[in-house]
Amino acid sequence: MEKVLILCRSLTQAQRSQRLLERSGIVSAVVKAPVALTKAGCGYALSLRRHVADAVRLLREADMLKGKVYALSGGNWSERNDDLS
């Protein structure tokens, strides 16, 4: 797993999620999501390389996990529904 994208419903939601993770010491970046991964087009996502399971848990606990989670591996994105640990 090279990196993970957590899709967000909006730019503001992505920024809010990033701040939440930041407060727990988890570094993420707000990025544009690949069009192929977004149903509605022009979406934003949080990109992470480390502490992915913690990030997903924190967002879920705060009721801020609103989009799908994708992992990049070998140049391909795949949806992840596991705990990513």
């Binding site: 701040r19 707000v30 544009k32």
Partner: protein, 369 residues
């Protein structure tokens, strides 16, 4: 120049505001329109502004801070969201046209509560008598003509008790009086960025307790394949390219207010207002509209016997004192106070007004009276 027209727009701003505007014009593009550095710089500026406003006004969630062009824009969104044709809406007798005109435009049935200047009890009495029949309440926090501080906490409490949505026009109170979204439980609070929050013109804020309906439809930089506006705040209410340089300045203005605190700013302006009112009360031929500063923000209106308010303002302007006359876009407030015929001369203060300016302005007013 002695600038005493801060209730219209604060002209003197903290230096950081102008620096931020300039820097944003040089470095920031459009938020939500890309992921390159210039776009993300803009996104960060906008989000910081939301965070700062959420902190100052106790909103909790920054995504409930919608950035608008001004308070009028914000009030139009709020009113269009909650008020329809024949909705019964309670307002005070001191509302601005930014409230009256949108209510008229949607065809609301308007009922006016409290027509006596500085009579907080009278306002409350009228609200208590009619709240049971209301579909919504739209209420200014401070009269833009007289500085009259309306009993907004008590009105909000009545609204909560009767489950009537409340829209607060905080145009003259944001940055000067305590404004707590969570405590008030308002559906919306609307405010300009360019008055007592010291942002540039073209900035405003709508604090949202409910989701609201879009006034404008268009691009938001996300959810693009959806023909409808996004469901989420703030994007739902923010179609089109944002005023990023203005928002950058507004952020610094909010920080300035946060550092000084609204309470500290109000205390300073109240002391100046008392000095001014005391001084002008000794001038013959003037009628002051004052509550001895007790229930009054930093705004003082007066009339001069036999002189039209606009003519008086023009004479002051020629002497370097900038104030505003006429009806101040609030004919209802003038009808309530009995000043509709000639309007009033309005002096409005800011934390950048100093006592020496007040004394010089008072001396010039005395000379003209």
């Amino acid at each position: 120049m002695i600038y005493l027209d801060n209730a219209a727009t604060s002209l003197l701003k903290p230096p950081a505001v102008c620096r931020a505007v300039r820097q944003a014009m040089l470095q920031a593009a459009s938020p939500g329109r890309g992921a390159h550095r210039a776009s993300m710089t803009a996104s960060e500026i906008v989000y910081r502004c939301r965070e700062e406003a959420a902190k100052l006004f106790h909103v909790g969630d920054p995504s409930r801070v919608v950035l608008t062009s001004n308070a009028t824009h914000a009030l139009n969104i709020a009113i269009r969201s909650l008020v329809g044709p024949e909705s019964r809406v309670l307002i005070t007798g001191f509302e601005h046209n930014a409230v009256l005109r949108p209510l008229k435009a949607v065809g609301a049935e308007i009922r006016v509560c409290g027509r006596t200047l500085f009579d907080r009890e009278g306002v409350l009495r009228d609200f208590r008598a009619q709240i049971g029949e209301a579909d919504a309440v739209v209420c200014t926090h401070v009269s833009n003509v007289f500085g009259f501080i309306l009993p907004i906490e008590e009105i909000a409490s009545l609204c909560r008790e009767h489950r009537v949505p409340l829209i607060v026009d905080a145009s003259q109170s944001a940055g000067v009086l305590d404004l707590d979204m969570q405590k008030l439980g308002a559906a919306f609070i609307a405010m300009p960025g360019h008055k007592s929050l010291f942002g540039p013109q073209g900035t405003g804020i709508l604090l949202c307790g409910v989701k609201g309906e879009p006034l404008l439809y268009g691009g938001t930089g996300s959810d693009s394949a959806n023909p409808a506006m996004p469901d989420e705040l703030p994007e739902r209410l923010e179609a089109g390219t944002m005023n990023v340089p203005g928002i950058a300045g507004l952020y610094e203005g909010l920080r300035f207010v946060g550092d000084r605190t609204p309470e500290g700013i109000h205390r300073y302006e109240s002391a100046l207002l008392k000095t001014l009112a005391d001084r002008l009360s000794r001038v013959g031929g003037l009628r002051l509209y004052t509550d001895a500063g007790l229930g009054q923000a930093g705004i003082l209106s007066f009339t001069a016997d036999g002189t039209d308010s606009e003519a008086f303002c023009e004479a002051l302007s020629e002497r370097g004192v900038f104030v505003r006359g006429g009806l101040h876009c609030a004919p209802l407030a003038h009808e309530s106070a009995g000043t509709r015929a000639f309007g009033t001369v309005r002096i409005s203060l800011s934390p950048f007004t100093d006592p020496e300016q007040i004394e010089r302005a008072a001396a010039l007013i005395e000379g003209l009276a």
